[in-house]
C-alpha cells in the first residue's frame, strides 16, 4: 500500500466516526496542551533567568585571583570585590603558607596569550570627583587598557576608544553625561573633564592646618586634579553595564599610574604607595566564546591562580531547571496517559466494529502488515491532530496566564515579562511526542487487528 493510501484511509475512517474521533482527540489535546503549557512555563522561567545573566554579559568572564600571598596591600582594589576566595577546585587561593604566583603584568601577559582569551585586564577602580562645565559628580573611575576597550567590552555610542594606554583621555558613560546635564552626548567627544582624586597628605602645612582647624573637621587628605579629554561616549556602563564595567568613567593605565589616588576600599590602601603597584588582587578575563570558559579556566588554574566563573553557576542552575522540567513533565504526563488509554479504547472499539472488514481486507489480499499499518495510521492521525490542537491549546492558555500575571505584576510596578517560552523544539517535540504516544497506544489494538483470522471474520455479523 502507498503512504498516500494509508493516510487517505485513516482520514476517511476517522471522519466516518466524527464524534468518537473528536472525543478521543480532545483527550489528547488536553493532555498535550497541559504538557506544553507546563514545559513552556519552565522554558519561560529559564529563559528569563539566563537572558538576564546574558544581558549583563556575565557568562563570558572569569575572575582570576592571586594564588598565594593573597591580600597584598597597596595594589588597586575593587570596591565591589567581595569575590570568592576559593577556586572551583576548593583550594584556598589566599593560603599564606603556600604563596603562589603573583598577579602582575607578566601574569596578565601570560593569561592574555591563552587561546580563547579575548581580553584580560586588572580590576582597578578608584573614587573620583568628575567635573564638567559647572557640574560635579562623584563616581568610580576604572582603569582599562586600550586593548580591552577594543575587544568588544565597551559599546561606544559616539567618538572613539583611546589609541594607546598613555594619553590623558577617557571614555564616559552616556548616563553619567546625562547626570552631568550634557544634553547631547553625541557632542561630548572633545570636551574637557576634570578628574579629582583624594590622597593622603601628611605635609607640614596640611598637618598645621589640621591642628589649627576648629571642631576636628580637617582630615589629612588632599585633592588632586587631573585634566582629561573625552574621546568616546559609551552605553551600558555603570550599574547597567557588564560585570567588569561597573564604572562610568574609563581611563588608560598610563595616566592612572601617574595619578595620586586612594581607593579607600581597604585599610591597606591608606598605607599603599599611590599610583598602584606591580601586583593586582584580581583580574578579569573575557573569553571569545562561551565554550572557551572551561578550557581557559583550566589553563589559568594550571598557572597557579584561583578562578571563578558564573558559567559554573549556570551549569548548576541547569540541573535545577532539568529537575523542574522533569517535575512538570511528570505532571503533564498524567493527562497524556489518560488520553492514551482513550486511544486504546477507541482503537479496540474500531477494530471490533470493523472485524468483518478486516476479514474482507485479508480475503482480497491484505497482508497482516497492511492491516496493522492501516490502524496505526489512524492511531497516529489522532496523535497528530491531538498534538497540533494541543500545542494550540497550550499556547493559548499560556498566553492568557501570561497576560493575567503581567497585569497583576504591572500593579506592583514590575516590567512586562514573557513567562512562557515556546521554542521550536518544544512545538515540534510536542507534536512528535503526541504521535509517538498515540502509536504506542495503538500497538496492542493494531496487532490484534493484524492477527484476525479471515475465515472467522468473514462469518462475523
Amino acid at each position: 500500500m502507498r503512504i498516500s493510501d494509508y493516510t487517505r484511509q485513516a482520514g476517511g475512517n476517522l471522519w466516518k466516526k466524527k464524534l468518537r474521533t473528536f472525543l478521543t482527540t480532545s483527550g489528547v489535546v488536553i493532555g498535550v496542551g497541559a504538557l506544553v503549557c507546563m514545559l513552556a512555563f519552565g522554558q519561560g522561567i529559564q529563559r528569563n533567568i539566563t537572558d538576564q545573566f546574558e544581558k549583563l554579559d556575565l557568562f563570558s568572564y572569569i575572575n582570576v585571583f592571586a594564588g598565594g600571598g593573597g591580600d597584598r596591600p597597596g595594589d588597586s582594589s575593587d570596591p565591589d570585590d567581595h569575590g570568592p576566595v576559593h577556586s572551583r577546585r576548593g583550594r584556598d587561593v589566599r593560603d599564606v603558607n603556600h604563596p603562589g604566583p603573583q598577579l602582575n603584568a607578566e601574569a596578565l601577559k601570560r593569561i592574555g596569550e591563552i587561546k580563547g582569551v579575548e581580553a584580560v585586564f586588572p580590576e582597578m577602580r578608584f573614587p573620583a570627583q568628575i567635573r564638567l562645565g559647572g557640574k560635579e559628580m562623584f563616581t568610580l573611575v576604572q582603569v582599562l587598557p586600550a586593548s580591552a576597550c577594543r575587544a568588544g567590552l565597551v559599546k561606544l555610542r559616539s567618538g572613539a576608544f583611546y589609541d594607546s594606554d598613555e594619553p590623558n583621555e577617557l571614555i564616559v558613560s552616556d548616563s553619567l553625561l546625562h547626570r552631568l546635564a550634557v544634553r547631547d552626548p553625541e557632542a561630548a567627544p572633545g570636551m574637557k573633564i576634570e578628574v579629582a582624586t583624594l590622597t593622603l597628605d601628611f605635609s607640614l602645612t596640611n598637618l598645621l592646618r589640621m591642628a589649627l582647624s576648629a571642631g576636628g573637621q580637617a582630615l589629612p587628605f588632599a585633592r588632586e586634579n587631573y585634566a582629561f579629554t573625552v574621546v568616546g561616549v559609551a552605553t551600558r556602563m555603570g550599574s547597567m553595564g557588564p560585570l567588569p564595567l561597573r564604572s562610568d568613567v574609563l581611563i588608560p593605565p598610563g595616566p592612572a599610574a601617574q595619578m595620586r589616588k586612594l581607593s579607600l576600599t581597604s585599610v591597606w590602601d591608606l598605607f599603599a604607595p599611590s599610583g598602584g603597584g606591580a601586583n593586582y588582587a584580581s583580574v578579569s578575563v573575557r573569553v571569545q566564546a562561551l565554550q572557551d570558559v572551561e578550557p581557559v579556566k583550566k589553563e589559568i588554574e594550571s598557572l597557579g591562580f584561583g578562578t571563578f566563573a558564573l558559567m559554573d553557576q549556570l551549569r548548576e542552575m541547569r540541573i535545577g531547571f532539568l529537575i523542574m522540567d522533569m517535575f512538570l513533565i511528570a505532571v503533564g504526563m498524567i493527562g497524556i496517559t489518560v488520553a492514551s488509554l482513550g486511544i486504546v479504547n477507541t482503537m479496540v472499539m474500531s477494530i471490533l466494529e470493523r472485524y468483518r472488514e478486516i476479514g474482507i481486507m485479508k480475503a482480497v489480499g491484505a497482508t497482516d502488515g497492511d492491516v496493522q499499518r492501516i490502524f496505526l495510521f489512524e492511531s497516529g492521525a489522532i496523535g497528530l491532530l491531538g498534538g497540533l490542537f494541543g500545542l494550540g491549546l497550550g499556547w493559548a492558555v499560556g498566553m492568557i496566564i501570561n497576560e493575567v500575571i503581567n497585569v497583576l505584576m504591572a500593579r506592583q510596578g514590575a516590567p512586562r515579562m514573557e513567562y512562557f517560552g515556546f521554542p521550536w523544539w518544544l512545538c515540534l517535540g510536542a507534536i512528535a511526542f503526541s504521535i509517538l504516544v498515540s502509536l504506542v497506544a495503538g500497538v496492542y489494538p493494531t496487532r490484534r487487528a493484524a492477527r484476525v483470522d479471515p475465515v472467522v471474520a468473514l462469518r462475523h455479523d
Binding site: M1, R2, S4, D5, R8, Q9, K16, R356, E357, G359, I360, M361, K362, A363, V364, G365, A366, T367, D368, G369, D370, P454, V455, L458
Partner: protein
C-alpha cells in the same frame, strides 16, 4: 488424479479443535482440476464445501495434505506469501457478499487494488470498467445498503475480478438470492469462464443450475469426496 491438473489437492485434511473436541471438516481429499473449468461443489450442510474453498483460496491452512496451484505448493506458503497469493491469483465471492458498507460500489470494487499499490486514478478506472462489465455502471456511487442482493453480488464479482485472478472461488454465491437473480449471477460466472477461460470453483445447492452451467460437479459428504461427475468436456 490428473497429472497436469491446474489445481491439485493431495490427502487434504482440515481438523478444527473446539476445546478438547476435534472435528474433521475435510478428510483426505485428493482432487485435480484442470485450468479453465467451471467446477461445482455440492453437498449437505457441514460436508466441508466452504472449508475446501477456504483452503483453495488461501484463507485457511490445511491440517495435513497439500494444495498445488499451477504447480506451486500453496499449503507451505508463509502468511505474507499466502496474502500475495490471495491478492494475485484468486478472487473470492461469498454468499453474504462481504462488501464494505461504508464504501460505494466503485470503492468496493477498487478495494483489492489498494493493497496492490495501484494508483488511485488507475484503481477507479479499472473498477469502473468492471462495473460496466457486470452492468452496474449507473450504480457505482451507491453503497451496498442501497443495492439489491443481486446487484451486491455483481459488485462482489467485479471486486473478485479486479486483480485479474486465474481462479474464481464462489462460496454459495446464489444462497441469498431469488431463483431469477441466482440464475443471472451464475450466467455471469459462466460467461466469465467461457470468454476469459477463468477457472471457477462454485459451491451451490442449486442442482439445476450446476447441471446447466458446470463442467463437472464434486459432491462432498462428511468432509470426503463421494462423487465426481463430469458433465461436459472442454477442448
Amino acid at each position: 488424479m490428473d497429472v497436469d491438473g491446474f489445481i491439485e489437492t493431495k490427502d487434504l485434511s482440515k481438523v478444527y479443535t473446539f476445546g478438547t473436541v476435534q472435528v474433521a471438516a475435510l478428510r483426505s481429499v485428493t482432487l485435480s482440476l484442470a485450468r479453465g473449468r467451471l467446477v461445482g461443489v455440492t453437498g449437505a450442510s457441514g460436508s466441508g464445501k466452504s472449508t475446501l474453498v477456504n483452503l483453495l483460496g488461501g484463507l485457511d491452512r490445511p491440517s495435513s495434505g497439500s494444495i498445488r496451484v499451477d504447480g506451486k505448493l500453496i499449503s507451505d506458503l508463509s502468511k505474507k506469501e499466502l496474502a500475495l497469493y490471495r491478492r494475485n491469483t484468486v478472487g473470492m465471492i461469498f454468499q453474504s457478499f462481504n462488501l464494505v458498507n461504508a464504501y460505494t460500489a466503485l470503492e468496493n470494487v477498487a478495494f483489492p487494488l489498494l493493497f496492490a499499490s495501484v494508483a488511485k486514478k488507475e484503481r477507479l478506472r479499472r473498477a469502473e470498467e468492471l462495473l460496466h462489465t457486470v452492468g452496474l455502471e449507473a450504480r457505482k456511487d451507491h453503497r451496498p445498503t442501497e443495492l439489491s442482493g443481486g446487484e451486491q453480488q455483481r459488485v462482489a464479482i467485479a471486486r473478485a475480478l479486479v486483480n485479474q485472478p486465474q481462479i474464481l472461488l464462489a462460496d454459495e454465491p446464489t444462497g441469498n438470492l431469488d431463483s431469477k437473480t441466482a440464475r443471472q449471477i451464475v450466467e455471469i460466472l459462466s460467461e466469465l469462464n467461457r470468454q476469459h477461460g477463468l477457472t471457477i470453483v462454485m459451491i451451490s445447492h442449486e442442482q439445476d443450475l450446476l447441471r446447466e452451467f458446470a463442467d463437472e460437479v464434486i459432491r462432498l459428504h462428511d468432509g470426503a469426496v463421494v462423487e465426481r461427475e463430469v458433465l461436459r468436456q472442454k477442448p
